[in-house]
Amino acid sequence: MRKLYMELIRMRFLTMLAYRVNYYSGIIIYAINIGAYYFLWGAIYGGQQQLGGLTVEQMTSYVAIAWMSRAFYFNNIDTEIAQDVREGKVAIEMIRPYNYLSVKTAQAFGEGIFRFLFFAGPGIFLISLIIPFSFPATATGWGLYLISLMCAFLINTQINLVTGLLTFFLFRNDGMMRAKRVVVDLLSGLVLPISFFPGWAQTVMGYLPFQAVNYYPSLIFTGAITTERSWELIGFQVIWMFVILVPILVMWRLARNKLVVQGG
């Protein structure tokens, strides 16, 4: 069984590699996004030394690292599931001798590794030449970041599984998936560090899983927090993983009984 999933990860990785235009456009997209926020934040800071507890330099490396983490955890499996459901392919998937959701997760992982090696790696190197940028100083720092990033990937994938599975009940939910993307980007701390939000908003966001997707790993990367605090954040991520597993399992159970194939 493990061999099957390894093979799925490898296949998706190679598929990503095969579409060359995709690869180039991906690099451009990340450059554009990081560039946009880099200049925007430059203008926002103006002459000020510090905002929301971050200096300009810290802010620019935060933007870069947040986008690079996103390269790893981001995937479109919700859209893929929605398409499978609409076209009725999911009926075939359900009778196959593997778990459909694990297959999707494995494919997302293959995609994540690809983006990490080919987008984030070179991207972060290029940015470090332009923007003063500090990497985690110790092996522990790197280790903690990578563990946290892996958790971030799993949580984000779970969120995508939830939105993808909603297609079983709503039939079409493109709009919702679009809104989800924007909401995750904002509430995960990608476009705006959580420390910028007013106190009450931070409290509310503490009860939501989105910070675990980006803010935690980015915080660990910057080395601004102690090792114990880092482990604590990873602990929160693990808790969220178990919490989100519940709706996924419930919905999957219901979906198997409720499947309405719309054509295909």
Partner: protein, 265 residues
């Protein structure tokens, strides 16, 4: 001219069909409406939160930036209503639907637009006007009677600029006949036009004015209503830029169609 009228009458027919199919999935229709509203308001959160920390961005105030964002939503809504073929590469090239398009009597770009028309996006216009209205009251802006027509003209121009650039980018699919994943690129670039271009550096400002003129969809035309006289020339150029870039888009598209070989089954 006869031809254009024909296309418009077909658009009307498709519209009525569209509402019939959409209302068949009623929860989805409402869900889509709410989702669009959420994604539009989320961007506002960014502006509001940032301005709790700083009084100005460049030399623009919070309400001016909100006004620009509100304006941006109007041409953007028009654009996404008529040019909804985000999955053009996947749907028409990979699956070979383009073969069918080419047998249709009206111009193939019009046919593709027709099939992916999304009239419910028109609500973005309303959201945009409400946001602009709020900012206008805060800023104590005054308008002349003819501003309505200027507003309509500039909004349509903005939509055409997006349409031209997007059409040209979609046409890349004709040349590569494999998966391209180019749509997200445009989706990401468009955020540049929402903020005043003078906060960016010179190179980006140049690109946003002359290469991918997204500044003409947001900040330049909005500057006219904000009475920023420095930008009046740019605001006035908007329709010209629209004609040029939509023309380029159309040319690239027509050229691409001649290169199309068909990849699907």
């Amino acid at each position: 001219m006869q031809n254009m009228r024909h296309i418009f009458s077909i658009f009307a027919d498709y519209l009525s069909q569209y509402f019939k199919t959409r209302l068949a999935y009623r929860t989805d229709f409402i869900g889509d409406f709410v989702s669009n509203l959420v994604s539009e308001l989320i961007n506002l959160v960014f502006i509001i939160v940032v301005f709790t920390h700083v009084p100005l961005m460049g030399d623009w105030t919070r309400d001016e930036i909100i006004f620009i964002y509100g304006f941006f939503l109007v041409p953007y809504a028009l654009f996404s209503m008529f040019f909804g073929f985000w999955d053009f590469n996947e749907r028409y090239i990979i699956r070979g639907e383009m073969d069918r398009i080419l047998t249709r009597p009206i111009h193939n770009l019009a046919q593709v637009c027709l099939e992916s028309i999304a009239p419910d996006r028109i609500f973005g216009v309303i959201t945009g006007i409400i946001i602009m209205g709020y900012a206008a009251i805060q800023l104590d802006l005054s308008f002349y009677w003819y501003d309505v027509f200027i507003f309509i003209g500039l909004s349509i121009s903005g939509a055409l600029i997006y349409g031209g650039v997007y059409t040209a980018i979609a046409a890349v699919s004709f040349f590569s006949d494999s998966r391209t994943g180019i749509a997200p690129m445009i989706y990401n670039i468009q955020q540049y036009g929402r903020y005043p271009v003078d906060v960016y550096n010179k190179a980006i400002r140049f690109v946003l004015t002359y290469v991918l003129p997204f500044a003409f969809v947001g900040v330049y035309p909005a500057a006219y209503f904000l009475r920023k006289e420095v930008w009046y020339t740019y605001a006035a150029m908007t329709p010209v830029v629209a004609v040029i870039f939509f023309g380029i888009g159309l040319l690239v598209w027509n050229w691409g169609v001649t290169k199309y070989r068909g990849a699907g089954s």
